[in-house]
């Protein structure tokens, strides 16, 4: 690049001015075309528009200021055009950025693995619980909860378990120490199901009721591949005037389709629970084989998933002690309950229930 100074103008006629300004414009344009790096760009900027030694300053001092008054206007117009041209060149060069070569020199190895930040995973049980709860929330069910340590009254007596029922045995139920001297109904135990929250809710609130109860429950069971002394249930209760068995069927059929897909079919079998009558077990068509029969459904095409039934009048009679509106001649209702572990294991292909409680990062990572 020439460091040539701006010479004084010999003449101020139009053609001489055109010639002189065109030469500068060409010079600037050529130099701008050679800009290849941010350093080049900065050098170009200083050379042409720098405050102290910029060439435009020189042009202004030597040509514009030195011009006779009658030529000032024509020099000024040409100076303005040149200035705009150079500013344009600067903008363009800045916009273009560095050259390909310059960029290539900055290459990184994009095949190196990305820096991983752990992403927290919601527990599959929480996830499944929330899924179930939201299906019922959409049907108008509120969420209810209750204590994990319950009294015999709420867990058994008010759920219509007769006094000698085997579930009351300590072989099946975990109990709090030192209860022997207390009246049976006050004895504390770990709730064996979420059903006691049915009674707690009815005692608090007259009908209509629509409630889902997610929670942790315990039984005196040894751990194996599919059983755990600790597990989770979602219980549901719907009480109103004119609630029927066909409403129970329709509600659970809808819920199973919402949870497992619209092609799922349901099938109801008579069953027995002390707190419902009629009682039913519900099967869904196998979600793995679509009902054709596979290893997962033991070649039956069906998978048993939940228990349900119409609320037994005896249960309403207990609720009536605190809320007279639970008159079994006027209202009716249904209740249902499902094991969350079983559903989670099915949905996510978990083979051992114990994995759910081990806190193994490798297992949990799969749900992130």
């Amino acid at each position: 690049m020439t460091q040539d100074a701006i010479p004084a103008l010999p003449d101020y006629n139009d053609s001489a001015l055109d010639q002189a300004f065109a030469a500068l414009a060409k010079q600037a344009t050529d130099e701008a075309a050679a800009i290849g790096s941010p350093d080049d760009l900065e050098a170009f900027r200083l050379r042409w528009v720098g405050r102290k030694q910029g060439r435009l300053n020189d042009v202004s001092a030597r040509w514009l200021k030195a011009a006779p008054s009658e030529a000032k206007k024509s020099v000024g117009e040409r100076f303005k055009s040149l200035k705009e041209l150079i500013e344009g060149l600067l903008d363009k060069a800045a916009g273009t950025g560095p050259s390909h070569a310059a960029l290539a020199a900055e290459a990184i190895d994009i095949t190196l693995p990305g820096t991983r930040h752990l992403t927290g995973a919601e527990h599959p049980i929480t996830r499944t619980l929330n899924e179930i709860v939201s299906v019922f929330a959409a049907l108008g069910y509120s969420v209810g909860i209750g204590p994990e340590v319950e009294t015999d009254f709420y867990n058994f007596e008010s759920m219509n378990f007769p006094p000698g029922h085997p579930a009351r045995d300590t072989q099946d139920t975990l109990v709090i120490a030192s209860q022997e001297r207390r009246p049976l109904r006050d004895r504390l135990l770990l709730r064996t199901h979420t059903s006691p929250v049915q009674m707690r809710t009815m005692e608090q609130q007259p009908p209509p009721i629509r409630i889902v109860i997610p929670g942790k429950v315990h039984r005196n069971d040894a751990m194996d591949a599919t059983h755990s002394p600790i597990f989770h249930q979602v219980e549901g209760l719907c009480v109103d005037t004119n609630i029927t068995f066909s409403d129970l069927k329709g509600t659970l059929d809808h819920a199973m389709k919402a949870l497992f897909g619209s092609s799922v079919k349901t099938r109801f079998f008579p069953s027995f629970f002390p707190f419902t009558e009629p009682s039913a077990d519900v099967q869904i068509s196998c979600i793995f084989c679509g009902g054709k029969g596979c290893r997962k459904c033991k070649h039956s095409g069906w998978i048993e998933l939940l228990g349900c039934g119409m609320v037994d009048p005896a249960v309403f009679a207990f609720a009536q002690e605190k809320q007279p509106a639970y008159d079994p001649k006027k209202i009716s209702g249904f209740a249902f309950g499902m094991g969350v572990e079983r559903i989670a294991m099915m949905k996510y292909g978990i083979s051992e229930i114990g994995q759910l409680y081990a806190g193994d990062m490798r297992f949990l990572n799969q749900f992130a």
Partner: protein
């Protein structure tokens, strides 16, 4: 329980379906056939049944045949009880029920001159040998097999005694204290006055409803027998069976309620089979009944059933006809009920209950029977209308916020045991001494209700480290327990544990160990979700005993929000780490999240962002080791310069060159005004006020 379809069909001459179809139809009506095994030509199938305990009446061939007859509306043959004419006896065997509160009926039949021998197919309807071999039922002798045959046929237990070993007559009574009896299993038993026995005039012969006695058992030499068929009260049988650790077919049935009217029928079936091998009936059937028990079983008062109730509870059917009167009548009649229409009201009945269905007591029980036999899957799927609103729990949103905060920070959620060992409880209980033990724990390690989530998190964290999973980020939201065995208190809690590197791996940048301040940041983030005016962290000298024993006393902090302790966190105490053979540093903590749930959530409020240039000024300070950041922080806060919009500890630098007791701190400050560009003179003045304030706090400016 095993059922032969060949046997079933003898009671159902018109059964129109295959064994497979029958199995499915029974199963869909709650008489569950779990497995079907083809027994080859002419032998039908064997069903493996699973029948719920309330349907003890259906745990035999005739009971299941009754269900099938009702389902298909076909004829159910009566059990054949015709017996040869008895020879008159000079005197019937005396039978007395002394314990009338627990024995409702006792029948005794005497057969004389019989021959004990192997079983055969005696006559049509008594193919003992064939049925028993198909059922793989052990054949013992014609006498024992006859009682088993009656049991399998119609579910009534019977017992055959060697008559010649009986002295006097039969007395059903309670045992005498210390009375001895050798039972059929060869065990010598000492009886309790609560035990019910069948006795003769001198000794106990058997445990009533449970097991017969050794001394009166049928042997190859037996010529004369007494056949007992009775009805015993369920709880009495249950108590005796449990007391002696005996669970027999008989006790199983009596405990669940036998059929009061079945005794003479079963007695006839047994007698017919025995007499097929010779002998004769001696005298009448002695049949002693207790009227009060008969009234409570076979002669229960009729119950009302209204069709409107059937409709109100069951709803609509797929065929849209609903349950009709004739459907109700045919189902209940088929099951053995007698229906009479109540004259005053249309479509309602008085229903006389069958003696074998003690489980039917109320109108709802009959409605269930109608639904069950009609078929659950023939009811329509309807959705009930609902006009109410959905309420959410007050803790739902804060819990969601807490969970999201932990998840966003890269922590996995875990669920751990509700129980821990008492040593773990003592170590971690936030309220010392409030530990609730279990009465029947699963194991010693699970002996008490967890007072804290820390034991579970610690086990999970050390489990990962032991499996060489170095990077641990876990949290649990769960219930913790305190109080006493009289009254247990439950609270929600949040715990977290972390170990390993941050970030967990990087090919280009150095990773570093996660440490206290990483978790402090997490706690601050969590607390910032709630409306809290004043948050601070403090700690106590190790000799005060105020720091939880599971925490390193000088690398842990108490978290205080608006004057309330809301948690503790920090490095696991080296002693605890060593006890668990953990070499890595674990940062662990527990937040008493129930206390946060009581606070309102912080509502975001936007304020205008200043358009004017912020100015950053850094101050390089030298401080004595004893001066914590908090003091510099407070000195800057106390300046109350509105334009001092932010300040932070940008870097802490420790170096021996600074002097043994000193450390360097780079404080970064930002000044900004909402309405103007700050002038140089203003900045100068702010700067000198900052220097003055930090100097007063004990800092020196680094030259």
């Amino acid at each position: 329980m095993k059922i032969l379809t060949k046997w079933l069909r003898t009671y159902l001459p018109e059964l129109p379906v295959s064994d497979t179809q029958l199995a499915e139809d029974l199963t869909l009506r709650g008489i569950a056939v779990e497995g079907i095994f083809n027994l080859g030509s002419g032998n039908g199938s064997l069903y493996e049944m699973d029948i719920t305990t309330n349907r003890v009446d259906a745990m035999n061939h005739y009971g299941i045949a009754r269900e099938a007859a009702t389902i298909y509306g076909v004829e159910l043959r009566h059990l054949d009880t015709t017996l040869p004419k008895h020879q008159p006896s000079a005197q019937n065997l005396p039978v007395k029920i002394e314990a009338e509160d627990v024995c409702g009926r006792f029948t005794a039949r005497v057969l004389r001159g019989i021959t004990i021998g192997p079983s055969r197919d005696w006559f049509p309807g008594a193919e003992v040998s064939t049925y028993f071999s198909l059922l793989e039922q052990k054949q013992i002798s014609n006498a024992v097999d006859a009682t088993n045959f009656a049991w399998l046929a119609m579910g009534q237990p019977t017992h055959a005694f060697d008559l010649d070993k009986i002295e006097g007559g039969i007395i059903v009574r309670r045992a005498r204290k210390g009375e001895k009896l050798k039972t059929l299993d060869g065990m010598d038993r000492i009886l309790d006055p609560d035990d019910l026995v069948v006795a003769d005039h001198t000794k106990a012969l058997g445990l009533a409803g449970v097991m017969g006695g050794w001394d009166t058992m049928i042997t190859a030499e037996t010529k004369n027998v007494l056949i007992e068929a009775a009805w015993f009260e369920p709880m009495a049988v249950r108590r005796t069976a449990r007391r002696h650790g005996l669970h027999t077919d008989a006790s199983h049935r009596f405990e669940r309620g036998a059929d009061f009217n079945a005794a003479p029928v079963a007695s006839a079936i047994v007698s017919r089979i025995l007499l097929a091998n010779g002998g004769h009936i001696d005298g009448d059937l002695v049949d002693v009944r207790v009227p009060s028990w008969e009234a409570r079983t076979a002669q229960r008062p009729a119950i009302s059933l209204a069709l409107s109730e059937v409709h109100r509870l069951l709803g609509s059917t797929i065929d849209k006809e609903g349950i009709t009167s004739s459907t109700v009548e045919s189902i209940l009649t088929g099951l053995g009920c007698t229906l009479s229409s109540a004259a005053t009201q249309s479509a309602s009945w008085q229903v006389q209950l069958p003696s074998w269905r003690l489980d039917l007591e109320r109108e709802i029980d009959l409605i269930e029977e109608v639904a069950r036999v009609y078929g659950y899957n023939r009811f329509a799927n309807t959705l009930p209308a609902f006009a109410g609103g959905v309420k959410s729990l007050s803790s739902a949103e804060p819990e969601l916020v807490a969970r999201r905060t932990l998840l966003a920070a890269g922590f996995h959620e875990t669920i751990s045991s509700t129980f821990c060992s008492s040593a773990e409880a003592v170590l971690t209980a936030p309220i010392p001494g409030q530990i609730v033990p279990l009465g029947n724990p699963l194991s010693e390690e699970a002996g008490v209700m967890r007072p804290s989530l820390v034991p579970g998190l610690l086990n999970a964290a050390s489990g990962n480290l032991n499996r060489d999973v170095a990077d641990v980020r876990l949290f649990e939201l769960g219930t913790v327990f305190s109080g006493t065995t009289e009254k247990v208190d439950e609270r929600p809690a949040l715990s977290f544990a972390a170990a390993g590197n941050l970030p967990s791996q990087s090919s280009l940048h150095p990773t570093r160990r996660i440490e206290f301040h990483d978790l402090k940041g997490l706690v601050e983030q969590l607390l910032s979700r709630f409306q809290i005016r004043d948050i601070y962290f403090d700690r106590f000298p190790s000799d005060t005993g105020l720091t939880p024993a599971w925490l390193h006393p000088y690398r842990s902090a108490r978290v205080v929000a608006d004057g309330l302790t809301v948690g503790w966190f920090g490095q696991l105490h080296p002693t605890e780490a060593a006890a668990r053979k953990i070499k890595d540093t674990i940062i662990i903590g527990e937040i008493y999240i129930d206390r946060l749930y009581k606070l309102p959530l912080r509502k975001p409020a936007a304020r205008d962002i200043s358009r004017f240039q912020p100015v950053r000024r850094d101050f390089s300070l030298i401080l004595d080791q004893s001066i914590p950041w908090e003091r510099i922080d407070k000195s800057l806060a106390s300046l109350q310069i509105p334009e001092l919009v932010d300040w932070r500890a940008a870097e802490v630098f420790r170096d021996a060159k600074l002097g043994a007791n000193d450390y360097a701190l780079l404080v970064s400050t930002t000044f900004q005004a909402p309405d103007r560009t700050l002038r140089e003179e203003e900045l100068q003045s702010f700067q000198s006020r900052v220097v003055h304030a930090v100097s007063a706090a004990g800092a020196r400016l680094r030259s």
